[in-house]
Amino acid sequence: MPTEQETAPPAPAPGAPRTRINDLAIRIATANGTGSASANRLLMQSIFRMGIPVTGKNVFPSNIQGLPTWYEIRANGDGWTARSPDYDLVVAMNPATYRQDIAGIRSGGWVLYDDSRPLAPELRRDDVTFLGIPLARMGAEQFRGSRTLILMKNMGYVGAVAALLDIGREVVRAVLEEGLGAKKKELLEANYQAFDLGWDYAREHFDCPLPTRLRAMDANRDAILIDGNTAAALGCLYAGATVASWYPITPSTSLVQAFERYARRYRRDPDTGSLRAAVIQAEDELAAAGMAVGASWMGARAFSATSGPGISLMSEFIGLAYYTEIPLVLFDVQRTGPSTGMPTRTQQGDLLPIAYASHGDTRHIALFPADPAECFELAVAAFDLADRFQTPVFVVSDLDIGMNDWVVPRLEWDESYRPDRGKVLGAEELEGGAAFRRYADVDGDGVPWRTLPGTHPRGAFFTRGSGHDSDGRYTEDAGPYTEVVDRLDRKHRAAAGHLPGPVVGRTAGARLALVCVGGCNAACREARHLLAQEGIEIDYLRVRAFPFSEEVEAFLLEHDTVFVVEQNRDAQLRHLLVAETRVPKDRLVSIRHYGGVPLGAAQVTDDVRAHLGRLGAESRQRRTGGALSGTQAASAPREEGGRRP
C-alpha cells in the first residue's frame, strides 16, 4: 500500500560510533525569507567541489517570509543521491519546528542547534547527540543590524557544519568568493568572519570531525551542479527558440526567466544590440499558449512553460494546435495538485491530463526528463519533434527536477546539430509545385506539408479549429472530417518510433521489473541496487516518452510482475500503460508516493518487499488450502511467490 510515512530509523548502533565516509544526509531547518537558501547552497556546492556526488532538496513553503523551510543534502560516494529522510545531522535553526526536526534524526545522529536560548528539556533524546552553539549571542557581539545578524547566523552554522563534517575551510571560502565576487570585499570579509565563528566554536567545543563525515574524492570532474529549469531554458536557447510566452507560476517561473537572462546575453544583434528573441509575460496561461501558437504559426520556434493549473487553462489552445497541426512546445514543471494543491511541493500528477489534454479526440507527444541533463537534451528534441510532427510536444518535469540543484554530467553541444523544421514548403516549391493541400497525406506518413504566412500567394490557406478537410476548407461532412482526424491518429502513433527511447537496465533471468518515469529515477535505481543486495533481482525501465514505443510494450510483456512507481494518487502512468499497451492489467503492481516530497529509495524497496511478502504468504496459504484475503494480493500473479528468493 502506498503510504506517506518516512522510513523508520534503524535500530541504534551498539557500542562506539563507526566511522562512515561520504554517506550522509543532512537536514537544515530554518524560516523562509531569512537568506538561508544561499547558505545552504554554499554547503551543497562545497561538497560538490570536494568531488562527492551530492543532491540538495529544497522543501519550501508557498510563502515569502516566516514559514518553516528545510533544505536536505545527501552526499553519497557511490552516487546514490535520491532523497534520503534518514538524517544523520539536523541543523535546527527554527525553534518553531524543533520538535519535528529533532524527532526526524536517525538514532545515533546529531543535532546542531542555537543554544543562545536553552532547549526545552522535553525535546531531548537520549539516542541523539546535541551540539549547542550560541550563534545568536556570538553574532550579536560581532555584527550590527538585525538583517546582518540573521544572515551571519546562517554563515555561522555553515562554519560549524563544515567543521563537523570535515568540509575544507578553503573550499567553502573559494565558493563564497566566486559567488560574491572580488568587488564585494567587505561583505566577503563579514561572511568569512561569521563562518569562522561557527568553524572555530565547533572545533573548540565538539569532537570534530564527526565519525560520519566527508572526504574529498574525484567524482565530479566532468559534472555540473544545475537545476532542471535552467537546463531546459538552455535547451530552448540552443534549439533556436525565439518566442517565449508565459505566465508566472511556481515551479516553472525560473525556466522562462533563465531563457530571458541568457537571451539577453547571447541573442543580441552584434550591430544594433537589439534582441533576437521575444519574451512576453502574458496576462494568463490562455494567452501564453495562444501567443506560442501564433508565433509557431509564423514559423518561429516558440514555447511556454507552466505547471498543472496552467495546463488546465491552456487545454483549449492545446486542442487547437493539435487539430490545426501547429508545432507547440510546452514545459510542464509539475507540482502537487489537484487545483492549487501544494504549489511548492513536487508530484507527477499531470501525466494523464497531458496525454489527452483538451476536449474531443486529442492525444499528445510527451517527453519525460529525469534530471537537468535530460531537461536540456529533451528540450532540444521537443522542438524538433514538434516541427516534424506539427503538433504540441510537452516536456514534463517536476518541481524537484526543475528547481533543485542536481549533479549531472556537463552539458554537451553538438556543433553539427541543425534544427529539424519538418515539412515546410518554401516560395520556390510553391511557385513551381502542384496546388498546395495543407492537410493532405501526400507522403503517406501521416504528416502533411505546411507553409508559413507571407511566403507565397499559393501557400495561403485558412488555419481553423473548426471542421476541415484535407485542403483546410471548412467542412461539416463526415467523410472529409474523418479523413483528417484519422490521419492525425496515424501521425500520433507513428511518432512513437521517433521519440526518445526508454532507459532499460536488465539482470539475467529477472522476472520482476520496476517501471517509472521522470523524477522517480534516482530512487528506483537505488532501490534496484538495494533489492539486488538482498537477492531480489529486478529489471528496470524508465519511460521517456509518450506515446509508448514497442520497446516499452515488449519489456512489460517480458516480466511476470511489473512494479509501476510514480508520484500521484491515481496511478496515472499505470493507467496509460494499461490503456496504450497490450500488457495484462494485473501484471502491473502500483507503487505510489504523492505527499509532495521527492521519492526515496526505501519507499520503493519497502513496497516491493511488502508486496513480495504478501505474495509469499498467499502462496503458502494456497498450498495449505487457506483462503485468500486482501484485495491487493488478488491483483497479483499467483506464481510469483514461489519464485521469490
Partner: protein, 351 residues
C-alpha cells in the same frame, strides 16, 4: 463556405492599384452571413482599404476568433493567410504571430461577444501591449450564431427581438480602449463606407494597435424597434464630427480645404492622417479630451463616430521590447545558437 464557388471574371475596365491588382484580388469567398448583415459592408470596406494601400495580399495575416464576425476573414483577401482561433483569443494569436514576424500586415476581426465578453481580458492586454495590428470590432450588441442573446455591448434598456429588456450596463470598446491607453481609437458605422475606409487605411498604417469599433447591425436578431444597434437607430443617433482622410506616403498632398480647417497628423511611414472635421476645442491626440468628448455625446444620447484618438508617439510591442528588425521567425539558426564555446562559458557558473 468554400463550396460556393465565386465566379472569377477579369474585367478589363477594373481599376488597378500600384501593384496592378484590382479590388477583385482582395476579395475572398462568398459570404454566408445573412443578407443585409452589417459585417458584409465592413468586409467591403476592408477590401477597399487594402486595395487602396496596395498591400500585397500574401503579406497580410488575417485573424479572428469565433462568432459571425470571425467568419468574415474568409470573405476578403483569399491570398492572405488566415487564422480562425478560439473564442475571444484572437488577440493572443495575433500577439505571438506579430512577435515572430513583424513584417506582415495584421488585421484582426472580432465581435462584441468575442472581444467584450469572453475575450475582454485579451482585448485589454493586446491594447496594453500595443501590438501593431488593425483590430476591427464588428459591434452589433447581440449573439447571432446562438440566436439572439444580449452581448456585453447591448445598451441598458435595449430590447431584444424576443421582447426581453437588457438591464445591464454596456461595455463601450471605445471608452475601454481610451482608458487603457490605446494609441488609435475609432468608431465607424457599417452603413457609412466613405467614413470607414480612410479610418481602416489609417489603422493599417498606424504603428501599434488600431482599434476600430464598427456599429454593424445584425439584421436577423437586432435590427428592430427598441434596439440601439439597429440601422435605423444608428443612422438617427450617429454624429460624425471627427472626420478624417488618409493620405498615403507617396501621394502628393493636395489642399482642397480651407486653410486652418484641417489638421495633419503624420504617421510612422510618412503617410498622413488628415482631420478635416473636428469639433471646436477638440484635440484628437489628447486622450482625455477624446474620452470626455465621447462621454458627453453618450450623455446626449448620441453615438460619436470618426477617428476619435490617435497618439502620434505610439511605440509598438517590438519597439518596447527592442527586438531585431529582421522577423524572428526568419533568423537563420546560426544567428540563434550560441555554440559550444558559449555553453562552456555558461556552465562555468554551474561548477
Amino acid at each position: 463556405m468554400t463550396y460556393i464557388r465565386k465566379p472569377r471574371v477579369r474585367h478589363p475596365s477594373l481599376e488597378a492599384n500600384e501593384l496592378g491588382l484590382t479590388r477583385r484580388d482582395y476579395e475572398g469567398s462568398m459570404s454566408t452571413l445573412c443578407a443585409g448583415c452589417g459585417h458584409d459592408s465592413v468586409t467591403a470596406a476592408v477590401i477597399e482599404a487594402f486595395w487602396k494601400l496596395s498591400v500585397p495580399p500574401h503579406r497580410v495575416a488575417k485573424l479572428s476568433g469565433i462568432g459571425c464576425s470571425a467568419k468574415t476573414p474568409t470573405y476578403f483577401i483569399s491570398q492572405a493567410h488566415g487564422f480562425n482561433a478560439v473564442h475571444g483569443r484572437m488577440p493572443s494569436i495575433a500577439t505571438g504571430a506579430n512577435a515572430a514576424n513583424r513584417d506582415l500586415v495584421y488585421i484582426g476581426i472580432s465581435g462584441d461577444g468575442d472581444s467584450l465578453s469572453i475575450g475582454l481580458g485579451q482585448l485589454g492586454h493586446v491594447i496594453r501591449r500595443n501590438v501593431n495590428m488593425l483590430y476591427v470590432l464588428e459591434n452589433n450588441g447581440v449573439y447571432g450564431l446562438t440566436k439572439g442573446q444580449f452581448s456585453a455591448s447591448a445598451d441598458e434598456g435595449a430590447v431584444a427581438k424576443s421582447g426581453e429588456v437588457n438591464h445591464e450596463r454596456a461595455i463601450d470598446p471605445v471608452l475601454l480602449a481610451l482608458s487603457l491607453g490605446a494609441t488609435f481609437v475609432a468608431r465607424g458605422f457599417s452603413g457609412d463606407k466613405a467614413q470607414l475606409v480612410p479610418i481602416l487605411e489609417a489603422g493599417i498604417r498606424h504603428r501599434g494597435l488600431a482599434l476600430v469599433d464598427v456599429i454593424s447591425p445584425c439584421v436577423t436578431f437586432n435590427d428592430h424597434e427598441g434596439s440601439t444597434k439597429s440601422y435605423a437607430y444608428t443612422r438617427e443617433h450617429e454624429v460624425e464630427e471627427v472626420a478624417v482622410d488618409f493620405v498615403p506616403r507617396r501621394r502628393e498632398i493636395t489642399a482642397d480645404y480651407e486653410a486652418g480647417t484641417v489638421r495633419d497628423v503624420p504617421m510612422h511611414d510618412g503617410s498622413v492622417v488628415r482631420f478635416r472635421k473636428v469639433p471646436e476645442d477638440y484635440d484628437p491626440t489628447d486622450r482625455d479630451a477624446a474620452y470626455a468628448y465621447v462621454r458627453a455625446r453618450q450623455d446626449a444620447g448620441e453615438v460619436a463616430t470618426g477617428l476619435l484618438h490617435i497618439d502620434p508617439g505610439s511605440r509598438d510591442l517590438h519597439e518596447v521590447m527592442d527586438t531585431a528588425s529582421t522577423p524572428l521567425a526568419g533568423l537563420p539558426f546560426g544567428d540563434l545558437c550560441p555554440g559550444s564555446d558559449a555553453l562552456d562559458e555558461i556552465l562555468a557558473d554551474y561548477r
